[in-house]
């Protein structure tokens, strides 16, 4: 429901009445085909908000070419009502008379994922945004870099349309400031700026780029490696908060004044400046929150609790993404899946109640009948019709072998044309259908659905792309374009003649989940599965549940973590749907999605138990590094942050009234051995520093750091720490602090950048932040499940941004620190997300494979294993079978996992593998008909 606004909500969790207002788009969605002819004739223009205000769009528009839904909208603020769009719309879709409609939706739960705004850089007058043409904000620069942007991907200056020689990025614009803008860190800007810099340099190789920053907050998985690559490519990083920007009025170049690290004031000239403006809330988010009756925090983000990061203040309304606080894409995706899981828990009794099932007519038998092909050639309005002689293509199609029926449609994809196709399948006894129109990427599923609803197997369909690959690229040469369209149709018909019906195989499904690891992530995941009605098998290597959570005592806001731990353990133990195996290890996992068999062995016994389950959630956690540096283990006053926290929470603690405590960050972290940032340590050090200050206000605390990474709203604790007198001293990774021990005293020497000299601090306690290491058994699980680890030893997800919980192999999910080090609330969100992803499988009756899967001719197979190596989905493996003739080895496909990508088939030296529907014979037929 687009163009829709919320006006209010009534009711209770499980049964709400949500009032909405549907704004008119003045175009009938069921008729509009997105062809775009209307926009070509529209005489008025509006500001292109999609391109961040750079450029204009017609008064009847789509936001961008790939927009979903691809339906035009009239902007009534600029429309003069001339009627040209209505006149030229061949689908008769324009309707000026549409009115706003009020509607009430009956829903059981609500997810608030309304996102965030970007900070208005014009407020900070010293940067000249809005006055100087070549100062842009990062959203505008993102559009400038894009091929669909205002300059078609060329990096150009707005003042003169010339490529800049140099670009400065200024970080923390509107963020991390107690004076102007917002106090919090916006979490995403450091990394998007580095990305924009890298991409800009790809566009313009000689470009000089300088990023002015306070701390580089590359706290996420593999982020530091990306920053290092950027440095290697020649991008400069300057640690300084820029005070002002001036413009050279002749050249429109910009002069940046800043204080360099050696304390001198410097001025540098740049061709362009990009302001990395932060994320912020808007008056509309406040209004929305009021209408829904949910509370916001003091920054205007949705208020949540550290222990329930997805739950808003109103039961039944859940929250995800940047509406809850500034965050990057993967955290947004995790939290959103997590929110879906909590909705499912709430509405579990109604699962499936409102889902409509499609009913199909009896199947048309095609075996033993010669091909009777129907060809439908589409005009696509004027998209094809304007540049290709469609009637001639249709006439030509009639002459092709096997073709018994040909028709042309203005829009083959429109609803009435679909009905016509169905009718013709029956009437003409068609057993193969070819559509010559646009791209199968967007329209193949639609046409396959049409075939199926007429009783024809969905794989008896073939498509010729005579728009994207023909009319759009040969607009000036009608005759040649028509000839090419004929070629494409002939090739598609050749393939159609060979098409065979394919069945989508189905497999049984064991509606149980295996959760590996009984820490916060594992327990949360097991509870989630159980509450959605599925049995969970929870396996923990230690004697007690709890994992890393057992060693955390309080959150930065002061909440008692041990209360959470005890409550979780109790809930898990009380839950009938959870079977717990502690002090146990997994020795073998066999099978695939829906059908796993796993052997669990209790450590001190010989017996093994075999369990069956349909999915696997990996939650093996991580372990705190025990450093070898800084005399750790040789002096009992040199401890880790975790040990400090345990001490500070123990009433019998030996740490009493320390005069001076020094903390060193990034110990054996972000170095050659452990290249990654452990994300939580900065916040942990600030949290523990504040705890010491609370207990012993007279103590002096020094935190020696490389970059302070208290991202998001955690920045407030960093500010509080500074306010309470905790001293932060930055050290360089090439000039680490040195420590010595004399008469039981610990002396720390660190080079202070601001004072430009070595400081010597005698301390009672030296606290090290050594980061988190992956578990040793990650490798065993990676082998058992055939899933990858990244180079640091953490599990590697299917996609760093969009699939942060999934593996490429279906049916296996991850959550918590085994994915990468993270904070407690993030672990809870990811564990709920893993449950959500798993339940998309467990809630099905069977596991369905696609029809276009690989198959092996075992008599040709040499069992070389190449296919197994190239398969990204773990769907092919070489098996050994005993037969009467001896042991046979050959590759076998697990259809349930196969995505039909063809990697195995194209790499097979023996031509022993083919993809159903895309076998060599099919491809050769297409080529021979070219």
């Amino acid at each position: 429901m687009v163009n829709t606004e919320i006006s209010g909500i009534e009711g209770e969790p499980g049964n709400f009445k949500l009032s909405i207002i549907r704004k008119p788009r003045y175009v009938e969605p069921s008729k509009c085909t997105g062809c775009g002819v209307c926009a070509q004739y529209c005489p008025v223009e509006a500001i292109d908000t999609y391109n961040a205000g750079m450029g204009v769009v017609p008064g009847i528009f789509v936001e961008y070419q790939q927009a979903v839904p691809l339906i035009y909208t009239i902007n009534r603020e600029v429309c003069i009502g001339c009627g040209l769009c209505a006149e030229y719309c061949e689908a008769d879709a324009v309707d000026y008379s549409q009115k706003e409609k009020k509607q009430i939706l009956d829903v059981g739960a609500v997810i608030l994922a309304a996102g965030t705004e970007t900070y208005d850089a014009e407020t900070l007058t010293e940067y000249g945004y809005g006055r100087f043409k070549n100062v842009v904000n990062s959203k505008e620069f993102e559009r400038i870099l894009s091929a669909s942007g205002p300059f078609r991907g060329l990096v150009l200056r707005a003042s003169d349309g010339v490529e800049p020689n140099s670009i400065a990025f200024i970080q923390c614009v509107g963020s991390r400031s107690l004076v102007k803008g917002n106090e919090y860190c916006s979490s995403a800007c450091c990394m998007y700026a580095v990305k924009e810099a890298v991409v800009a340099k790809e566009h313009l190789h000689g470009l000089d780029i300088n990023i002015f920053f306070m701390d580089i907050r590359a706290y996420g998985k593999d982020f530091d490696k990306y920053v290092e690559r950027a440095k290697d490519s020649g991008i400069k990083f300057t640690r300084s908060r820029v005070s002002n920007i001036k413009q050279d009025n002749k050249t429109n170049n910009l002069w940046i004044t800043y204080e360099s690290e050696d304390g001198n004031l410097k001025t540098e000239e740049f061709g362009m400046v990009v302001l990395s403006h932060g994320l912020c809330t808007s008056p509309s988010s406040k209004e929305l929150a009021e209408k829904l009756g949910v509370e916001l925090d003091r920054f205007g983000f949705c208020k949540t609790d550290e222990f329930s990061p997805i739950q808003s203040s109103r039961p039944g309304i859940f929250v995800s993404g940047a509406f809850q606080g500034p965050k990057d894409i993967p955290e947004t995706v995790m939290q959103s899946s997590g929110a879906a899981s909590l909705c499912s828990e709430l509405l579990i009794s109604e699962r499936g109640a409102l889902i409509e099932k499609e009913e199909y007519p009896p199947k048309i038998e095609v075996l033993g009948v010669g091909p009777r092909i129907g060809v439908f050639v589409c005009y696509c309005g004027i998209n094809i019709g304007g540049y290709v002689d469609v009637p001639e293509v249709a006439k030509y199609a009639e002459s092709l072998e096997g073709v018994v029926y040909v028709d042309t449609n203005l829009f083959t994809c429109s609803q009435d044309s679909q009905e016509l196709v169905k009718q013709k399948i029956t009437e003409q006894k068609l057993n193969r259908v070819v559509v010559a129109s646009c791209t199968p990427r967007t329209h193949e599923p639609l046409f396959q659905e049409t075939c199926e609803s007429a009783g024809l197997n969905r794989y008896l369909f073939s498509m010729a792309n005579i728009r994207d690959q023909c009319s759009w690229v040969h607009m000036q040469t009608r005759e040649e374009a028509t000839e090419k369209a004929k070629d494409l149709v002939r090739m598609a018909v050749a393939k159609a003649r060979l098409l065979e019906p394919l069945e989508r195989l189905t497999f049984d499904l064991t509606k149980k989940g295996l959760v590996i690891g009984g820490g916060l992530a594992g327990m949360t995941a097991a509870l989630g599965l159980a509450r959605q009605g599925y049995e969970a098998i929870l396996v923990e290597r230690e004697k007690e549940l709890g994992g890393n959570l057992s060693h955390i005592y309080y959150t930065p806001s002061g909440k008692d973590v041990q209360v959470l731990l005890k409550s979780l353990i109790k809930q898990v133990k009380d839950e009938q749907n959870i079977t717990i195996y502690t002090n146990s290890e997994i020795t073998e996992i066999d099978g695939f999605i829906g059908n796993y068999r796993t052997k669990i062995k209790e450590k001190d016994s010989n017996g093994e138990k075999e369990v069956e389950h349909g999915i696997v959630i990996i939650a093996t956690g991580g372990k705190e590094n025990k450093p070898k540096e800084y005399l750790y283990g040789k002096n009992d006053k040199i401890i880790t942050q975790r040990e400090l926290e345990e001490n500070l929470s123990n009433p019998k603690s030996k740490i009493l009234n320390p005069k001076s405590v020094v903390m060193i960050q990034c110990v054996e972290s972000r170095d050659d051995k452990n290249a990654y940032c452990s994300r939580y340590c900065c916040t942990q050090a600030v949290k523990n520093g504040l705890k010491i200050k609370e207990k012993f206000p007279e103590s002096s605390i020094y935190i020696l750091y490389r970059d302070i990474r208290t991202y998001g709203t955690k920045e407030v604790y960093f500010n509080e720490a500074r306010e309470k007198g905790i001293i932060f001293i930055r050290y360089d990774e090439n000039n680490k602090p040195e420590i010595s021990e004399e008469n039981g005293n610990i002396n720390v020497v660190v080079n202070d950048h601001l004072l430009k000299r070595d400081l010597s601090i005698v301390c009672d306690y030296l606290v090290l932040s050594p980061g988190m290491l992956p578990q040793d058994d990650n490798e065993d699980y990676a082998k058992m499940l055939k899933v990858p680890l990244n180079e640091d030893g953490f599990f590697l997800e299917a996609h760093m941004k969009l699939r942060p919980v999934d593996f490429a192999t279906d049916g296996i999910y991850m959550c918590g620190i085994c994915h990468s080090p993270k904070m407690l609330d993030e672990t809870i969100a990811q564990a709920n997300a893993a449950v959500s992803r798993a339940c998309t499988i467990l809630s099905q009756d069977v596991v369905k494979a696609d029809g276009t899967v690989a198959y092996v001719n075992k008599y040709k197979c040499a069992a070389c294993g190449t296919c197994e190596t190239v398969c990204a989905f773990g769907a092919v493996k070489v098996v050994e079978k005993e037969t009467r003739g001896g042991i046979e080895r050959y590759a076998e496909v697990t259809e349930a996992l196969c995505k039909g990508c063809g990697a195995c088939a194209s790499s097979c030296r023996m031509s022993a593998i083919d993809i159903r529907g895309y076998a060599d014979k099919d491809i050769i037929a297409i080529i021979e008909n070219f």
Binding site: I20, L70, K225, L347, G352
Partner: protein, 58 residues
Amino acid sequence: MSKKIGAVAVIGGGIGGIQASLDLADSGFKVYLIETKPSIGGLMSQLDKTFPTNDCAM
């Protein structure tokens, strides 16, 4: 207590709202995905590429 309803309203059609909607629809719930703009996609649709893979954001 009134009867529960097996439908969820997801407010916001950006990457977060889309992910939540897909998960819910794939696990047996009716979803109303509500967006104020004329198309879904949100902020992410305006991004050119995403790190660390420099994949196209579209």
